[in-house]
Symmetry: D2
Subunit: 372 residues, 4 copies
């Protein structure tokens, strides 16, 4: 781990803001290296910002995000604000010469994501990192390594879903998140992009998608009466990978009883791997000749777990994924390979989910990344 | 149960032949009514036929299936021969005035299935039944009843797979089963049709499919050298149901470690049901307001289980599904509603899997059944 | 399988009577050999006996069990009557020169079991078999073979439970089954004896037990008012095996939500095996060096499964255990090793559960069997 | 949460030292209130202490634990050193007027634990807390609340195990931890005490234990040759609770394949609850009338989860248990009820596990706590 301490600004104090704060506080305890300096905390609410800064150890607080970006003590900006603010803040941070850690989805529109990727590409000295937490769990990393290492032979097929039920209740009020303009994509933007991030890590580039979407609850109550839901509650897709493998893909925000079912399997010529984020400390592996599937509990033999805990079977937590993400960003800044997704890779994810959203049952080609 | 004893001919003594024999021997012990008369057993091997007849209680044996069909003591013909013989035998049996219990898949080609359905339709006094065993388990019947009864509200989405790994080994020798002419469809014909049978029972008619297929092992060893595999090792599909619901579908015969993974879930507006045939005595149900998914063990409160065993949690077996199927055929012959799939419904299943096989990524409309 | 056909009498047409009838009808279809002759069916209800005989293929019916025992066409008597009749019927059958297949528990009292074992021992030409079904599932047989074959090294510890909830409801009416005189032991006699049968097969003889029992519902409603429950609702025990291994043991008939939870694990020096009868088609095995526990689905590589079905993952059923039991009895009669439990082994099981019932927290020695 | 910031000294930088450091860094981010001041870090290794202090945000470092205890800026001392040092350090800390957060097991001997409890009792103004992490997970807290709230009626029975396999390998070298003098109890002291802590929280006081212990690997290699293992590899016990309920108890450090199997179930008159720490984000609940067991995924409706994450199904981690523990200690210091186990309750746990170790098959009475 790098020994040079870097200054951090954090924008936002919600679910992900707190998660970033915890990660910045613990990354050096877990992985060693220099403890990051928590320089400035920004939130629209002045007293809230001050209080959160005190609780989480930030030296200063502000309500003006441009102040945070411009702070000369700051090297890295954590952006955890609503999606509609991502482009403006991330681009401004890069233009201010800061490394950027941005929550997903990258942007509301494909055009925004393209612009952000271009601006990042023009500043090769700055690192970008998107908050695809689920790539960081020890079990997922172990799975990716097993696939990449040929442990299950050549991948033939991917089957993945990411289902939750937070929008299943038809009485849930209408919100701007359900509009194209302010919310962008629906289940694809909120959930599907996570599944794409894992799929790319496991299977490599996507060549073609054919998808259908569905709005299960077409209008919702608001103070002004019923208003239409514009973005999709669920999506289904078939995929052709550049490798020749095939895949199926599904995501829903109206799947009753599902809470964080980011579940997939990879079928290889010599084995199968199965994972479900609701049991994120289990990986199921079958290799040819085995009597069945074996349940691998997360433990020190999986990547990064030992730094958190030497004892196997002692569960890794959702929030701890973020500590690994912070470590990966720090390593990239220190000159190691950026494990990503950076903005270039994030733009690829956006192209895939926007192609799904637009497909309506027709095949959509996915162009390779420029940098590949 | 009917009190009139019916005479049975059984053609074939393989996996399914034995399964039919067990069913005919136990159907009256389990469900009451008249014990069927096991009149004649037919197998190509003379001594084998005689021996199996003795062991299973058949009065006579023959090597000539036309003799079996023509036997005046016979009311019902169980046909469990290789798929390429289905059409000829089933049509001859109907023409001989016998009720027919035929194993799936119905036929090698869509044209054959159409012909069979037409011949059956012309003989309304004769009952036909296809061996879609998995429709008969208490857990599946309970699931279908929950869906049909509105227990999970309106179905929104279906997600289904049927995976096995019997062809995963690339050293598995080439066989005629892997040709279009003698084997018909591949994974779709062997496995996918079962999944379609359950999907139709749960979700109602399919309006459109968009599918892709894959041959994972393109050629296989034979005494004459490597020969090409013609039919699909796996298939993936998107579905639009007539109801407006959507679905995803996958089947593979090369999914390492999967043995009988006929697994699906139905997302409804008020709940979700999940099933996996590898644990066929469990049904997982979530209804809105529940704290999680509940694991329903098969027991007497599910359809037909109590006739086999009064005690819950005492596992129902694969072979016992066939006893229920025999009962359903006997009830249909006695004048009750044929729960099917009869040949008309079987032809619908064939149209769907053949559309999947032909789709190659393009949407294929599925016309409604004539009888609907 | 033996080629000489044997004549069968079946006494009783309840849960287990039907189960025996199914087994006798299918044993030759499954395992080959001569089809048993179903000679005579006995039930106290005349019309019921006649009807069941017709449905299940028995040639004759009677209401007099002594007639059935005395029938010269009969070689084997299946006894499935209430526990209080076991001793009289089994001893009479042996005295009539018949082989005996008797449901568990063997007898109401230890003295009865001792008498039965003595009478059987005096007739070495006759085979006895007790209906400990759970010993016959492919998964259990596979587990026993793994342990016996040293696959998990030397067994160190056994942990076993058998819980159900059929008596959990305090409003369940009082019955004679809850008395010592007519019902014998409670949970130990009904459930615990099954667990002992598996434990002995896995771990070898028990040297000492220390146990406690509990009556959870001390009195129950009857037409004459509340009446006391005399036998135990649950029992707990510590065990020392003759091998030096140790064990824990628990059984309950008041464990809410448990339906057939006959669950145990064996810890060996080189591995661990875990089983639960509620998922009787799964065996969980860990061997040193493995990354986790592996889920072995029942399939043709486990004992006896292939005779029922060639396809792995196609669930074996509770009732099919009985077909294996029938086969084992037929093999013993034909001169093979009786795999038991015969009456000598059954008496050993009775000694253990009666010691548990009497222990009240004090260590009770278990004497070795005479025949060991 | 209290608004007065307290000063913290941490002794030890191993597994638990890091865990305490993470907890102190995040407790205010998670729960609000004043951020603790990380005053001084103590470790025997000077450079290690300095480095860890920098990484984790401690202001000072020392190699002298008495310096840490005597620091006037320090209000609370976290003690995470080897068990043999617990008594001396904890008593010194109390005598220095500091609140104490001490890892388990409390002490090597029962006499030490008694002394510590007495010294704590004499200082009612100081709070003590023992590191029984597993009491703090949202799922366990939810379970305890369900039991305490009568959700499953009156508890009848407890069945608990805590198994790991860290000592299963016979080639694992001998260590002082395996001696009575330096290591204290074996599996009971390391694992069993955790299970007792949960059992007491669920079931209330224990009245009597009857136990057996076993040393599976009796001697182990050391540089001086084979040396004997003195403390138990496993233990089994029967329990009578003061309430009249009964229980079984087992713990092993040689259970192959088990990594953190702290698994128990409580049978109540109206329901059953089942938990396994290896899947610490699942609680299984059955209530009378339910169709089966329901799988409750950890989420915001369980105690304390929402402070870490608003989203259900997003796994809580092992280390996060410690943040809840820190919060509970801070609340106790601020005047709220100490949820414990404090030293008085810790001594009760020690009395139970020492009684188990001494029982050798004989019933051992457990006297009630003085403060109860």
């Amino acid at each position: 781990m790098p020994e040079k301490s870097l200054g951090v600004a954090l924008i936002g104090t919600g679910f992900m803001g707190r998660c970033h704060a915890m990660a910045w506080n613990n990354v050096a305890t877990v992985f060693g290296g220099a403890r990051p300096r928590l320089e400035i905390l920004c939130d629209a609410d002045e007293e809230g910002a001050r209080q959160f800064a005190r609780q989480s150890g930030f030296a200063r607080a502000t309500t003006d995000w441009r102040t945070a970006l411009g702070d000369p003590q700051v090297d890295i900006v954590s952006i955890t604000t609503p999606n509609g603010l991502h482009r403006e803040m991330a681009e401004a941070a890069l233009e201010a010469g800061k490394h950027v850690w941005l929550e997903k989805p990258m942007a509301l529109t494909l055009a925004d994501a393209r612009s952000m990727a271009a601006i990042a590409a023009a500043r090769p000295g700055l690192q970008t990192m998107l908050g695809y937490n689920y790539l960081r769990s020890p079990a997922f990393q172990a799975a990716r390594n097993l696939v990449a290492g040929g442990n299950i032979g050549t991948p033939l097929a991917f089957r993945g879903v990411y289902d939750e039920d937070y929008s299943a209740d038809p009485d849930l009020p209408w919100s701007w998140r359900m509009t194209h303009e302010a919310g962008g994509l629906g289940a694809l933007g909120d959930l599907g992009c996570h599944l794409v991030s894992q799929m790319l890590a496991l299977m490599g580039p996507v060549a073609e998608v054919t998808a259908m979407t569905q709005i299960a609850v077409t209008e919702r109550p608001s103070p002004e009466g019923m208003r239409p839901v514009e973005n999709e509650d669920s999506a289904l897709a078939l995929l052709r990978f550049a490798s020749g493998a095939q895949g199926s893909f599904a995501t829903s925000r109206v799947a009753r009883g599902r809470k964080c079912r980011l579940q997939w399997e990879v079928h290889g010529t010599e084995g199968t791997i199965v994972f479900d984020q609701e049991n994120m400390n289990e990986l199921w592996v079958h290799r040819k000749g085995d009597a069945g599937f074996s349940r691998h509990l997360t433990g020190p033999e999986q990547p990064d777990f030992a730094a958190f805990c030497p004892a196997p079977g002692h569960n890794f937590g959702f929030n701890e994924q973020k500590v690994v993400e912070a470590r990966d960003l720090l390593m990239a800044i220190a000159g190691e390979q950026n494990t990503g997704p950076d903005f270039a890779q994030g733009y690829e994810i956006e192209r895939i989910i926007h192609a799904m959203a637009a497909s309506n049952g027709k095949p959509m080609k996915i162009e390779p990344r420029n940098d590949e």
